[in-house]
């Protein structure tokens, strides 16, 4: 008597689902899904952008003209809140303009529209992408040239920026002290950063300023990163460490600028 194995219809479903997923991945790499991806992204980004605008109280159009249309039924408090938001945005853009005048960088201004969907790291999404000249590993700054991260993924209309506070972020930096000590700025320590691999024989003091050293090859030299708040120099360790405070709050970013590669 032959034994017959019971047919499991769920296996067929799993195989079909796996094959469908493989097909989607192949079509994506062949760029056949580009129109659907673009449409879906627009469909999802538009309400999120509107939601953030309603919180911020308005936005700056590409031409730099604020687009606030006060609702006649808004209370004075709402209008005051919107005015504060607009002033804040104006300050950010004015500082970026000052930075642009002092340097020869080409800047692409972008709004922060969200955070990375995988919720793993400190990664933000900006509303500029490959179509606007954003390149992979481009440095991202705020205000008067404060470095906040680098671009790690570029899509046609959006880009992902890895913030300095992320545990995967590593930036070559220099301390503006007498020895011009070099080190690596790493994230993953909450709101503060750490400058590691500082030679033990060099003097690092609290309130020393840390800037990018340019040794990465893709981040220009001289972008402000943070200020030293604590120095750790243990005798049993080969290098000393410094704890830094970033120049800006990396959790409250609204307008950033990407430095274009010339």
């Amino acid at each position: 008597m032959r034994l017959r194995m019971a047919y499991n219809p769920q296996k067929k479903i799993y195989i079909f689902a796996g094959a469908f997923l493989a097909a989607i991945i192949v079509f994506h790499w062949l760029n056949w899904l580009a129109p659907i991806e673009f449409f879906t992204r627009r469909l999802l980004v538009f309400p999120i952008t509107r939601f953030s605008e309603s919180i911020r109280g308005g936005r700056i159009k590409d031409g730099g003209t604020p687009t606030i249309a006060p609702n006649p039924t808004s209370t004075i408090h709402e209008l005051n809140a919107k005015m504060i938001m607009i002033k804040d945005e104006n300050n950010h853009l004015r500082e970026q303009l000052n930075f642009k005048k002092k340097t020869t960088f080409n800047l692409v201004t972008a709004h922060v529209i969200g955070r990375d969907a995988s919720t793993l790291g400190h990664i933000i999404i900006i509303d500029r992408g490959g179509n606007d000249g954003i390149k992979f590993k481009a440095p991202v700054i705020v205000d008067n040239g404060f470095l906040i991260g680098t671009v790690i993924k570029v899509q046609p209309d959006i880009a992902h920026v890895l913030l300095l506070s992320d545990n995967q972020s590593k930036v070559a930096a220099t301390i503006l002290n007498r020895d011009r000590s070099a080190g690596v700025v790493e994230g993953g320590y909450g709101i503060s950063l750490r400058l590691n691999l500082i030679p033990r024989n060099e003097t690092v003091a609290v309130d020393d300023i840390v800037v990018s050293s340019g040794l990465d090859g893709f981040i220009p030299r001289g972008l402000l990163i943070g200020t030293v708040v604590e120095v750790e120099n243990e005798a049993y360790k080969p290098f000393q460490q410094a704890v830094l405070t970033p120049e800006t709050d990396l959790n409250k970013l609204t307008i950033v600028a990407v430095i274009e590669d010339k």
């Binding site: 769920q10 479903i13 799993y14 689902a17 796996g18 469908f20 997923l21 989607i24 991945i25 994506h28 790499w29 991806e37 879906t40 992204r41 469909l43 999802l44 309400p47 999120i48 939601f51 953030s52 919180i55 529209i113 969200g114 955070r115 990375d116 969907a117 995988s118 919720t119 793993l120 790291g121 990664i123 999404i125 790690i152 993924k153 899509q155 959006i158 992902h160 890895l162 545990n167 995967q168 590593k170 993953g188 320590y189 909450g190």
Partner: protein, 182 residues
Amino acid sequence: MKKLLEWVGAFFLVVVITMIHFIVITFTSSPWNSIHLILASLFCLLIITAQKPISALAMALIFGFCVELFASTPFGLVSFALLISVIVVSFLLNTIFTNRSILIVFFSGVVGTASYYIILTIGIMTQAFFYKTNFIVTTEFVERAGISILTTSLFFIISYSFISRFTRRLNPRYISGATFTL
């Protein structure tokens, strides 16, 4: 016509849940921004559709596609991780466990969310290996994943409690596996 309405309803549901997920992770503070609403929604759908995981698998693929558009991970990894986590939870609920008590639901949520993050991590490490980039699993990374697993599972329990009270009073023909056949 009924099928078309089901498809439209499913698409609308996917869009709404995805938007709420993005709004939660962008505008809320920790630990609320660790809740993975999409995972919790898929697990709730698995419990509602009981023995037929096909609806949850189809929704996992659609959710995965929407999330891929805004994820920094390689394309396909999030969808794959969602698919596997749905299969794991379906296996637990249909093969291992026989009841749907709060403890079992919580355990299923923990296992499902943990498998999602494990697969995501393995995928990112594989990409780092082949593309010669750096990826280190640090203490902060494990902490963030742990917080997300806990918050997502708790949200799953709360959603399940709410849904089960509602579905008990609903006509069974609306909540059987036939409802979400795609």
